[in-house]
């Protein structure tokens, strides 16, 4: 265990990380935002969705200025209901990140499984899976996500829609995003399948499932990790876009996109902070994860092609 850690620290990976200021910077920003989001219930100054703690008199406080009626100070200001913007951002980031991570996880499981199956089965199954992937890839994924969201919304009964909205969102982003994983996994698996050790494993009678997981899968892990990181940035933006358009997170569980949607209503009346700080948080989150993904791709596996 300790030996493994030492090896990791001495590896090329850590060496090139320590020489890349952009990678270090984005790693620090991304991981601290994620930590803030996880710790939101403990560190946030207010509980924004508990009506008992809200005071309507606190509405529209400017950032860092004491409120005219109550004298309360909000670092990032407050919204029309007197909610602290910083707290809504922390809780909103939680939802954005939860949706992002879950959607990428779903896409990853689906894509890796279908990619492995396509590579190992070959023939008609391979052709069908990859054709579906091609078709899906020719449409923008945000469009597919919207469509899946709409259909899922149509199927669920109206009184349950708010409760399941988050899961529908995860499903629609996850299902729209598996193609990259499947393509890359299939490609790497095809290469591995040609190699002699796989032939040898087949000869001594190892079954196909074991070959797929024990021998093929470890070889595709680096590429899968790279795609997962880049997909996370895309999933966070997709989630924000869907929520901004009003077809995402419900008003009862606002994500960063929902907060920006709400803030847009106050753009003209001069309360710029209601939209500015959530946008900034979204920007930092998406940009840092994106830069980290780019760096990972260049370091780990320069051959993974992502559009």
């Amino acid at each position: 265990m300790i030996e493994g850690w030492r090896e990791f620290v001495r590896s090329n990976f850590i060496y090139s990380f320590s020489r890349a200021p952009v990678a270090i910077g984005s790693f620090v920003i991304a991981s601290s935002l994620i930590l803030f989001a996880i710790a939101a219930p403990f560190i946030s100054p207010y509980t924004p969705y508990d009506p008992a703690t809200l005071n309507l008199m606190n509405g529209f406080s400017a950032p860092l200025a004491p409120n005219a009626f109550t004298g309360d100070v909000f670092i990032f200001g407050s919204d029309d209901q007197g909610r602290d913007i910083l707290s809504t951002i922390l809780f909103g980031m939680r939802i954005s990140l939860f949706v992002g991570f879950s959607a990428v996880f779903l896409a990853m499981i689906l894509g890796v499984a279908l990619g492995l199956v396509a590579a190992m089965a070959g023939g008609v199954i391979d052709a069908i899976i990859m054709r579906v992937a091609d078709i899906q890839l020719s449409f923008p994924s945000i469009l597919i996500a919207m469509l899946i969201y709409g259909i899922a919304k149509g199927i669920t009964p109206p009184e349950m829609r708010n409760e399941v909205a988050i899961w529908v969102l995860i499903l629609s982003i996850g299902l729209s995003d598996w193609v990259q994983f499947a393509r890359v996994v299939r490609g790497s698996a095809m290469v591995e399948l040609q190699k002699e050790y796989v032939e040898a494993a087949k000869l001594i009678g190892v079954n196909r499932v074991a070959i797929a997981f024990r021998h093929i899968f470890p070889n595709v892990v680096p590429s899968v990790l790279v795609i997962a990181t880049i997909s996370l940035a895309l999933a966070i933006i997709s989630e924000a876009t869907l929520s901004f358009l009003g077809v995402g997170a419900p008003p009862t569980q606002p994500s960063l996109g929902t907060l920006i949607r709400i803030g847009q209503g106050f753009l003209f009346s001069g309360e710029w902070w209601i939209i500015f700080f959530p946008s900034l948080a979204l920007l930092l989150l998406a940009l840092s994860v994106n830069l980290l993904g780019d760096w990972l791709r260049n370091t780990l596996n320069p051959n993974v092609g992502i559009k």
Partner: protein, 328 residues
């Protein structure tokens, strides 16, 4: 296996047909299985016999593929059902909204191509210098920003702070037959600027980067060096020889992007409350207006499939190298 151009075209056309049939099937299944059509049409007072009669009349008792066939036949004749929310034929609603989206998409594609190619050529010719650096940095940031944030930023700057341009709507429109255009009035032209820039920005950066990489490659090739050694003027080398040879990939990529411009118009139209198809689609998703959703799906896939097909055909026709021995 060698394929002639003709065989290749037939095969691509067949593939496109299959894609359309599949999206049609999805659209049909949405109509048929999301919500019960009989439930939607009948009032509270009804008997089982009434329901059975209506099911028979609507053809809901026919085998699945007969129903699917009838649906396709109706759709081909322009009968896409009636919007749940507006109570009007879907085709009527779509045609009413179409001009707004087409105008927005064309203006932004035009902007993207003109500005993208100009900047791309400039950056390739002068790879060092502060203008190049600024353009490249700004484009990198522009690509990483979500479209709706760019829209909001533009609204804040040009509509709220400077109040030069309107932040929503199409301005005054002029009716020409069934086509309503906003491009003939001053307020209409003012209204299209911000949405078109927002929508075209991503494509613009893409075209710019593409032109830049293609140009730098061509500028290093032997025939350009030869042109230089012949003493041709720099201007002529850059535009006559180099730019011409970069245009093939630029045309194909731009063509393929046209479809995504229409799709991403959904976001831009929502930000700017632009009364086009995208805004209609978002409203239909929010209110679960299945006929509109399904028809939009069919419309957009028809659009994508035909654009892909046309671009593929053009590609093979422009570049003769692809014609000989097309390997399968």
């Amino acid at each position: 296996m060698e394929l002639s151009l003709f065989q290749y075209l037939i095969r691509r056309a067949l593939q496109s047909g299959v894609v359309l049939l599949v999206t049609g099937l999805i659209a049909f299944s949405m109509f048929r299985f999301v919500g019960d059509p009989v439930e939607n049409m009948m009032g509270q007072e009804r008997t089982d016999a009434d329901i059975e009669l209506l099911r028979e009349k609507l053809g809901l008792n026919d085998p699945f593929f007969i129903q699917y066939w009838n649906f396709l036949a109706d759709a081909a004749q322009g009968d896409l059902g009636i919007s749940f929310r507006q109570g009007r034929p879907v085709v009527e609603v779509l045609i009413e909204r179409l001009p707004a989206t087409i105008e927005l998409a064309s203006v932004s594609a035009f902007l993207a191509i003109i500005v993208g190619i100009t900047l791309g050529v400039y950056v390739a010719i002068k790879p060092f210098g502060w203008i190049t650096n600024t353009v490249l940095t700004v484009s990198l940031i522009g690509v990483s920003l979500p479209t709706f944030l760019i829209g909001i930023m533009l609204i804040y700057l040009f509509a709220v702070e400077l109040s030069w341009l309107p932040s929503f709507g199409r301005g005054e429109t002029v009716q020409i037959g069934w086509w309503s255009t906003g491009l003939l009035t001053v307020s209409g032209v003012k209204a299209i600027i911000l949405p078109a820039v927002t929508l075209g920005l991503y494509q613009m950066t893409m075209i710019m980067r593409l032109v830049r990489s293609e140009m730098s490659e061509v500028l290093n090739s032997d025939f350009i060096r030869f042109a230089r050694s012949r003493g041709l003027p720099e201007q002529k080398i850059n535009f006559r020889h180099a730019l011409k040879n970069t245009l093939v990939p630029v045309i194909t990529v731009t063509g393929l992007q046209l479809g995504s411009i229409i799709a991403f118009a959904i976001i831009t139209e929502t930000v700017f409350q632009w009364p086009g198809l995208g805004l209609l689609f978002i409203d239909s998703v929010q209110f679960v207006d299945i006929p509109i959703m399904a028809s939009y799906l069919m419309f957009i896939s028809l659009m994508f499939v035909s654009i892909n097909l046309i671009v593929d055909i053009l590609y093979v026709m422009i570049d003769p190298r692809l014609r000989i021995g097309e390997a399968s």
